[in-house]
């Protein structure tokens, strides 16, 4: 065997500035230097849709995900732009707890199908955010965008052990819906897909039922399906200057339409949870390089204590092994590279072999994947002992444009305008 079965999960962290959106939902950010403690998250409230950056990135991670990737089927640039405008209007409404269309689920002409599907009637906004991204395949000659492809949107390399399924990878456009109520997230994607019929086609979609990252210091680090806290070093909303360095694309990056945007990498990582579950605690902790209870790096006391990679055990070997996950993924192993991770646990039923089809839908935002996700994942794919228990089965890469400023703006305007 020897197949490294791989699954590499986790990355690092990144944070976001108090971007546009976090307002109602949660965290109150102080001035540049001082980040104040956040207020408890108001899970039913609305997150502002308009702002310098898109919401759903540094917004404190909601509990539920519905992610979708589309292939664009229309050949018309104008139709595509019209669709983005329609979507933007619907997204602005739905994120504020309104129906997708102006007439709604029951207010229209009885002989016509309703312009909202109705399953979210009576539900609060639930912290819904909708975040759009454009995949490398959009930048071909169909829409005259070939010259607009950002250098940072370079195709990901093949990582050792990749077992990617094309039918659940890639995509011209993605939309990430996050909410604290799964029905609200699904409602949003369902209505966007419906609006898109004839112009786009759903390539794949993914539900996530539990957040695996915290993107604010007000949130505790959740656990992945292996039972571990991972991504402790995530970039967080409060790390204002770090976010400028590691998360948001800037004019000097060379792609002016992306200024204020960021880059998204998704990886669906199947976990062999059955074999993991019969692995001893000692081995599980050695693989992660953390203890399972507190989440502290081995040799440290507390979760947020900086790992000491030099500390040795009585046998003279490093307490955190050379191939332990926390060491390989840590920013200090990659010249300080950091990500903002925002992944979700998934269980897509079972696999027909008596096992749960479970794992992590990894989501990470960063200023340039070539200097963040790629080197980190290459190190993990090569050496991480966790690979024995995981397998990467899908991959996505998207340029996430800046935020929508106001009702006259739309998703991707900076790309199509110039």
């Amino acid at each position: 065997m020897s197949g490294i079965s791989r699954r590499k999960l986790f990355g690092l962290g990144a944070a976001g500035v108090a971007a546009a959106g976090a307002g109602a939902l949660a965290v109150r950010v102080g001035s540049e230097e001082g980040v104040t403690a956040a207020e408890p998250v108001h899970t039913a409230g609305a997150v502002p849709f308009y702002g310098e950056h898109q919401a759903g990135i540094v917004t404190p991670a909601q509990d539920r995900l519905h992610f979708v990737a589309f292939d664009v089927t229309t050949a018309s640039r104008n139709e595509l732009i019209e669709l983005l405008q329609e979507w933007t209007a619907a997204a602005a409404r739905m994120t504020q707890g309104q129906e997708a269309g102006t007439f709604g689920a029951v207010g229209g002409v009885p002989e016509a199908p309703p312009d909202d599907t109705g399953e979210a009637l009576g539900l609060p906004p639930s912290g819904l955010t909708l975040t759009i991204g454009f995949g490398p395949s959009l930048f071909d000659d169909r829409f005259g965008l070939a010259g607009k492809r950002p250098a940072a949107l370079a195709d990901l390399p093949k990582f050792p052990g990749d077992a990617l399924l094309p039918e659940i990878s890639g995509g011209d456009i993605c939309v990430q819906a996050c909410a604290n109520d799964p029905q609200v997230a699904v409602h949003a994607i369902r209505n966007l897909a419906r609006i898109g019929f004839g112009k786009v086609s759903v390539r794949y979609s993914q539900l996530g039922f539990g957040r695996t990252s915290s993107t604010s210091r007000a949130q505790a680090t959740p656990r992945n399906l292996m039972g571990f806290k991972d991504g402790t070093a995530n970039l967080k909303l409060e790390d204002t200057s770090e976010l400028r360095t590691h998360l948001w694309a800037a004019p000097e990056d060379g792609t002016s339409w992306m200024s204020g945007g960021t880059y998204l990498v998704t990886r669906k990582i199947r976990m062999h949870i059955e074999t993991w579950d019969r692995t001893s605690l000692t081995e599980q902790e050695a693989i992660f390089g953390r203890n399972k209870g507190e989440g502290a790096a081995l040799g440290s006391q507390k979760e947020f204590d900086e790992p000491d990679f030099t500390k040795k055990g009585p046998d003279g070997k490093p307490l955190i092994a050379d191939a332990a996950h926390v060491r390989l993924a840590h920013p200090s192993s990659h010249g300080g590279a950091r990500l903002l991770r925002r992944g979700y646990n998934f269980v897509d039923g079972s696999d027909g072999l008596g096992r749960l089809d479970a794992g992590l839908f990894f989501i990470a935002y960063q200023r340039d994947p070539r200097r963040a996700f790629v080197p980190v994942q290459m190190a993990l794919a090569r050496q991480d002992v966790l690979n024995e228990y995981i397998k990467h089965v899908s991959s996505g890469l998207f340029a996430v444009p800046p935020g929508v400023r106001d009702a006259g703006d739309y998703w991707g305007r900076t790309l199509f305008d110039t």
């Binding site: 079965s5 692995t279 001893s280 009585p314 096992r355």
Partner: protein, 378 residues
């Protein structure tokens, strides 16, 4: 492939557990005194002549010579077909030894020409006083017993890999295809020890997807691709030579390795994990679809590691031993349904339902197997 770091961590724990840093390598008979003479067993396709039907209690060595035309196996069973010791894959013309510790009681010997069925049985009576091994000695014997297993498997691995490599180099595609799963059997049985050598394992057994840019795809699976997918081995000679030299190197290193009882317990579990994640899904042998051969070999290897620990487990956790016997038998029976001639059906010939039955049997077995390490570490 498994990283050596874990092994290191476990080895440390084992040391603490045993209280002895240097398990005596010699497999001294439990009763002390002189080594009893070897009991010869003349096996062929229709008979199984064991030189004696009575033995003194303690450690005995059976020397089995296969004079038949089929590959055979030799077992010593306690009542209820509880395996006290076994040695497999005794190819025609070969003599192999089985060392087994037997308390007083009644047993059965069995040869299994063709490696199937209940075999040709004979009675065996063991009398006299038996001083069981002390705890430390049981631990040391587990290590030594597994070392003997590694030795027997690697001897055959060298022979079978050479035959496979020769066929590849001779351009005999059909012959090479028939030898591929056979030579892998001996490899897959001892994977826990092979995987200690993280540098060689990927070269010998790396699957195509683990190969990085700038690294050459070599080893068994490269030749598998050449044979089944490309149907062309005209340029495979250097790969074949490389495989042989890598296998020689790893055999040399494997035989110098002493696995602690804790490593054996974990190794037994890891072999079943291999089955669960690689063989049941057909990912291991994606071109040849001979995954069931590897499945059987991993199961054999897991059982061998457990058998080496048997005296320790019988002392400390007799109920676990009972469960293990039951679940090993269950997994073997599930696999047995897919035998085809001297080998196994192709993965592609199994239905999803067939695979689910196998998957369930492995999960049922792996649970008790995963408890062994903690028992050994007590």
């Amino acid at each position: 492939m498994r990283s050596p770091i874990i092994i290191g961590a476990l080895a440390l724990a084992a040391l603490t557990a045993c209280g002895s840093a240097d398990p005596a390598p010699s497999a001294a008979p439990a009763g002390g005194g002189d080594l009893p003479a070897k009991v010869t067993v003349a096996a062929n396709d229709t008979s199984c002549q064991v030189a004696t039907a009575e033995l003194a209690a303690g450690t005995s060595t059976f020397s089995i010579t296969n004079g038949g035309s089929k590959v055979t196996e030799f077992y010593v069973y306690a009542p209820g077909d509880r395996v006290m010791g076994e040695i497999e894959n005794i190819v025609p013309g070969l003599t192999r030894e089985l060392v087994v510790e037997l308390p007083p009681g009644t047993y059965e010997t069995a040869c299994k020409p063709g490696m199937i069925g209940k075999g040709i049985r004979g009675p065996l009576k063991v009398t006299g006083e038996h001083k069981p091994l002390t705890d430390d000695a049981q631990m040391a014997e587990a290590t030594a017993g597994y070392q003997r297993y590694v030795k027997s498997q690697t001897d055959t691995l060298l022979v079978k890999t050479q035959e496979f490599v020769d066929a590849v180099k001779a351009g005999d595609i059909e012959k090479a295809k028939s030898l591929y799963p056979v030579s892998r059997t001996y490899w897959e049985r001892i994977e826990p020890v092979a995987e200690i050598f993280g540098d060689l394992d990927p070269k010998i057994d790396g699957r195509e997807e683990v190969i990085e840019e700038g690294m050459e795809f070599t080893g068994y699976h490269r030749l598998e691709r050449d044979l089944w997918k490309d149907n062309d081995v005209s340029k495979s000679g250097p790969i074949a030579d490389q495989l042989m030299s890598d296998v020689k190197l790893i055999v040399e290193r494997a035989n110098a390795e002493k696995l602690s009882p804790l490593q054996l317990g974990n190794g037994a579990k890891e072999l079943l994990d291999e089955v669960a994640t690689g063989k049941i899904t057909g990912e291991e042998d994606r071109y040849s679809h001979t995954d069931l051969w590897d499945f059987a070999a991993n199961l054999d290897g897991s059982k061998a590691a457990v058998q080496a620990l048997r005296p320790v487990l019988e002392t400390r956790a007799p109920d676990l031993v009972k469960t293990l016997d039951e679940k090993f038998a269950g997994a073997e029976a599930a696999l047995e349904a897919h035998r085809s001639g001297d080998g196994w059906k192709l993965h592609t010939d199994l239905s999803k339902d067939d695979l689910k039955v196998l998957s369930d049997a492995i999960n049922a077995l792996a649970e008790p197997v995963s408890k062994i390490a903690a028992v050994v570490a007590q």
